[in-house]
């Protein structure tokens, strides 16, 4: 039975497809409940990272405590913000485990999208009460009644009294608050039982040490409590507990049902991993709380400092990022072309881009990133099975019995007019059609089995452009499948460049080799001598292009005494040169290493 205190608490998150208005709704709830004053408000207030605001996406989970008075009672509403992109599903998963309910935001102009469904299923897996909310009803193209019916038909949620809102203009926010209080169950759990608190996020703060975001399921935790982390087995003394307003606010204690933070002079995030359970050292719980699906890297790529003397800075930066990003993995590797660097594992391409951008911006590093690769399984003729994350390490073909590549189950939702275009794209990407269902008369959900390797490159962009932006995509790993694959090498000036090697399907090797050689010809600037570019499989050259020798690089005019302007031009040129990677005698622009995968 919930206590009277617990009856006044609601723990919830907001789930939505990207751009359906999740962060805007969060902003309005914060505003409406007076958690922040107008002056303190800014857009996407919970997205603290510069990158999140710029891209309009949520990467890290965040939490905030709202106080809502419905006229009779005062309620504590703990909102846990979650990311929307498929790459960050694991973040969604761990936020869900801290809640009893979820607000499902659906765009009244777009209806259900692939991630609406994916997140909804995740929430149902966690037994959450789902409160549908129809957003953007202020737009002229809004069709709330149709969308409500769609949600009822496709997901099976009752939408009869779903709030119709516009988070942007602040319409219907009261209704959302009312639904939260009425529909989402309050937490329960014995406040006197042995402590069990779930870490749903953690990050390293230079002053406080590791800050654990927790949901207390049972028991009570306060300053001075001797705690034990059930997975790592380590013990600490709590130095502070508090809540999110949304900045840290210390409180006396957190009890069963509460969401808040705990610090305990923990030095390393690895000792307080997300998903771990905090209990009391003296009176430990017998069972930890169920952890969640751990984040597994699906995409690997090499990250190298452009200037090899930055290697240690890069290492430090990766270590720091890893403190707050359990999904990021890295280990040292060496490339003949690029020197010392790291092979890093990511959840997906967006995750990779974000890490790369954060390294460059927040740590001021100049990087060279190699084309991302999935994990291939190679069964050798001697029966040994190896996992290949770097194409360079592919054994000679004579030693390979067969290769397997990861496959995903992809669901794509699009207007029925675009079914043909989507099918054509999936076909090009070696997809295997599974089935197709109608969500409404004009919208279709397609299921395909597609090699992950085809998805991670430019699939999403291609999907968007071929459906005028109307299609949405979600996918999950579905195991491995045998495939005819070859290693495509690129030679510059006769020498193979390991960092440009890729594993490609045999049937596409020629086409791809030609396209890469052409692309590199565009990207590599003319230099003092002619540079042959070759694509090869084994010792067989399948494509060749030539970068002609540079003939002219001169400022014709330099007089009138204005030296500084000419100097600035030269300095700019020098900067450009610094962004080049010297490979043998050839200077290669950094973008070349990524650009090779963006060829058709």
């Amino acid at each position: 039975m919930p206590s009277d205190r617990q009856k006044k608490i609601r723990n919830f998150c907001i789930i939505a497809h990207i751009d359906h208005g999740k962060s805007t709704l969060a902003d309005r709830l914060i505003e409406k409940t007076g958690t922040l004053t107008q002056r303190e408000m800014e857009e996407q207030v919970l997205d603290t990272m510069e990158l999140e605001k710029e891209r309009g996406i949520t990467i890290k989970a965040q939490a905030v405590r709202l106080i809502h008075n419905d006229g009779n009672n005062e309620y504590i509403l703990n909102l846990i913000d979650t990311p929307g992109h498929v790459d960050f599903n694991y973040e969604v998963s761990r936020s869900l485990a801290a809640c009893e309910g979820a607000i499902l935001v659906v765009d009244a102009t777009q209806g259900i999208q692939a991630q609406t469904l994916a997140n909804c299923y995740l929430a149902l897996e966690h037994d959450l009460e789902i409160v549908p909310v129809i957003n953007k009803i202020d737009l002229p193209s809004a069709r709330p009644e149709e969308i409500k019916k769609e949600i009822e038909d496709v997901i099976g949620l009752d939408c009869s009294d779903a709030p119709l809102i516009s988070a942007k203009v602040g319409l219907g926010i009261e209704d959302v608050l009312k639904s939260i209080v009425e529909k989402i169950p309050c937490p329960n759990g014995d406040e006197d039982a042995p402590l069990r608190a779930l870490i749903f996020d953690s990050y390293y703060d230079p002053y406080k040490g590791v800050v654990c975001y927790v949901r207390v399921k049972e028991g009570t935790i306060k300053k001075g409590t001797k705690i034990k982390l059930m997975m790592s087995g380590k013990e600490y003394e709590v130095t502070e507990v508090g809540i999110f307003r949304p900045s840290f606010m210390e409180v006396e204690q957190l009890q069963a049902g509460d969401v808040g933070y705990v610090t305990a002079s923990i030095k390393n995030v690895r000792d307080a991993r997300v998903g771990d359970t905090i209990t009391e050292a003296e009176r430990p719980a017998t069972e930890p709380l169920p952890g969640y699906r751990p984040a597994i890297p699906m995409v690997y790529s090499g990250i190298y400092p452009a200037d090899s003397s930055d290697y240690n800075d890069l290492k430090d930066a990766l270590e720091k990022l890893q403190l707050n990003d359990a999904a990021l993995t890295f280990e040292p590797e060496t490339s003949v072309a690029l020197g010392f660097g790291f092979r890093c594992g990511f959840l997906g391409l967006l995750h990779m881009e974000i890490i790369q951008e954060r390294l460059e911006r927040e740590y001021n590093l100049n990087l060279v990133t190699t084309a991302p690769s999935v994990i291939y399984k190679i069964t050798k003729t001697n029966g040994e099975v190896i996992e290949l994350t770097n194409p360079t390490n592919m054994p000679p073909t004579t030693e390979i019995s067969y290769m397997e590549e990861p496959i995903v189950n992809a669901s794509i939702i699009c207007p029925s007019d675009y079914v043909g275009a989507v099918m054509e794209l999936c076909q090009e990407k070696r997809g295997i059609f599974k089935n197709m269902e109608y969500l409404e008369t004009t919208r279709v959900m397609l299921h395909y089995e597609i090699p992950l390797n085809e998805i991670i490159y430019d699939f999403f962009d291609a999907l968007k452009s071929r459906t005028k932006g109307y299609a949405s995509l979600d996918y999950e790993l579905a195991g491995y499948k045998r495939s005819e694959l070859v290693k495509l090498d690129i030679l510059l000036n006769g020498d193979p460049v390991d960092a440009l090697s890729q594993i490609v399907p045999k049937e596409k090797a020629y086409q791809k080799g030609r396209a890469i050689a052409e692309k590199l010809k565009e990207i590599i600037p003319r230099q003092l001598f002619e540079i042959p570019i070759q694509a090869a499989i084994g010792s067989k050259v399948i494509a060749r292009e030539t970068v002609k020798a540079l003939r002219k690089d001169v400022l014709a005019k330099c007089y009138g005494g204005d030296i500084s302007r000419k100097k600035k031009l030269l300095e700019k040129q020098k900067e450009g040169k610094k962004r080049m990677k010297q490979i043998g005698t050839v200077e290669v622009p950094q973008e070349a290493f990524m650009a090779v995968l963006k060829v058709e």
Binding site: K552, V554, L555, S564, K567, L570
Partner: protein
């Protein structure tokens, strides 16, 4: 050696390739000349070895203003006294005045002998008008004349340019400057170029043309002494050589640059602001940059190497009290291996290939 540069920022109209500091409104010329003379009066120098009046279009000035200015400047008794003169603003009367105040070198902007090309460049004159000015100047006794030319112009065929060169060499001026077009931001050509509406030669064709031009000029008795400059023996432009050999100069007028005692200055560019500053503060300095030793050394290199004679190793040592190989040893060896520079006596200079790729060389000397 010390030079004085005098800037006249007025033009009849803006040429499509030009990003120099000039305006087409000449209503400020009286105030401007007054301010300019004030600035000149404030200089403590009593003499200059060279004076260069440039623009804009200096010869656009009214006879009255021209005389006022020249009267003041001629007191510096320079050994080389140049003015830029543009056909369309020049006549026998003005030439006589130039002669009267001791101007001994004319730099005439021609650009091309093809009238349709002149029109496409936004020039305000024809080849025939230039010829009239040129012959007038010669008959008045000007015996040191430069003709400014350009190549790699939009829709200009190689042969058309070579025709220009042949026409001009027939006139036998003492000096020819010949610039490959640079598309500068803020010009009409830049906009056209961005819209892909300018047809220029490709790199290889352009270089062939450049080298052909050089051999024609050499055959006609000219010597190349800088990337874009050619002269009969003894007629090199001393004033420009000052810029390239790290000698001091003072620039007066809107946007003019000075270089004295290791410090670079520039005046405010805006003409009205310039007039205001001079009248109120006595100077119009907008920016001042004290060169570090490192900057000074790299400027010494990339300016000096523009000249065919290159830089002198001993001069480097005298200036910086350091051996050049100590500072730039790696760079020099690397560039020499690549065939871009060579040693010639006590000088280091660009090779022919180095002149085509001079920016690559210069960039090496920036730290």
């Amino acid at each position: 050696m010390k030079g004085l540069y005098v800037h006249i920022p007025f033009c009849k109209s803006k040429c499509f390739y030009c990003d120099f500091n000039s305006i087409v409104n000449i209503e400020y010329q009286d105030e401007y000349i007054e301010a300019l003379i004030k600035e000149i009066d404030s200089l403590k120098e009593k003499n200059f070895d060279t004076i260069f009046i440039g623009g804009g279009t200096p010869t656009i000035l009214s006879i009255n203003n021209l005389e006022k200015l020249l009267y003041r400047i001629s007191k510096f008794i320079p050994s080389e006294f140049t003015i830029e003169a543009n056909p369309g603003t020049l006549n026998r009367e003005k030439l006589k005045i130039l002669k009267k105040y001791g101007i001994n070198r004319l730099s005439i902007g021609l650009q091309s002998t093809d009238n349709s090309i002149l029109k496409r460049l936004g020039r305000i004159h024809t080849y025939e008008e230039f010829l009239a000015n040129y012959y007038d100047a010669k008959s008045l006794g000007f015996n040191n004349i430069n003709v400014d030319l350009m190549f790699n112009l939009p829709n200009q065929k190689g042969e058309e340019f070579l025709k220009t060169i042949l026409n001009v060499t027939k006139l036998n001026p003492q000096h020819i400057s010949c610039y490959s077009l640079i598309i500068e931001e803020g010009t009409k050509f830049y906009d056209l170029y961005q819209r892909d509406e300018l047809k220029l030669l490709d790199e290889d064709e352009e270089r062939v043309l450049y080298h052909t031009m050089i051999s024609i000029l050499i055959d006609n008795g000219y010597r190349q002494y800088e990337i874009s400059n050619f002269a009969k023996l003894g007629y090199e432009c001393k004033h420009n050589i000052i810029y390239w050999s790290d000698e001091e100069y003072i620039g007066v007028g809107a946007g003019a640059h000075s270089y004295i005692k290791g410090i670079r200055y520039s005046n405010v560019k805006d003409i009205k602001q310039y007039i205001y500053d001079i009248n109120n503060d006595g100077n119009a300095i907008d920016e001042k940059n004290v060169l570090t030793k490192e900057e000074h050394m790299s400027e010494f290199m990339f300016l000096g190497l523009r000249m065919n004679c290159g830089i002198n190793i001993n001069k480097f040592k005298n200036k910086f009290s350091q051996d050049i190989m100590e500072v730039y040893g790696d760079e020099i060896i690397d560039l020499k291996d690549k065939g871009l520079i060579e040693k010639c006596g006590e000088n280091i200079r660009l090779t022919e290939k180095g002149r085509d790729l001079s920016n690559l060389v210069f960039v090496s000397f920036l730290k």
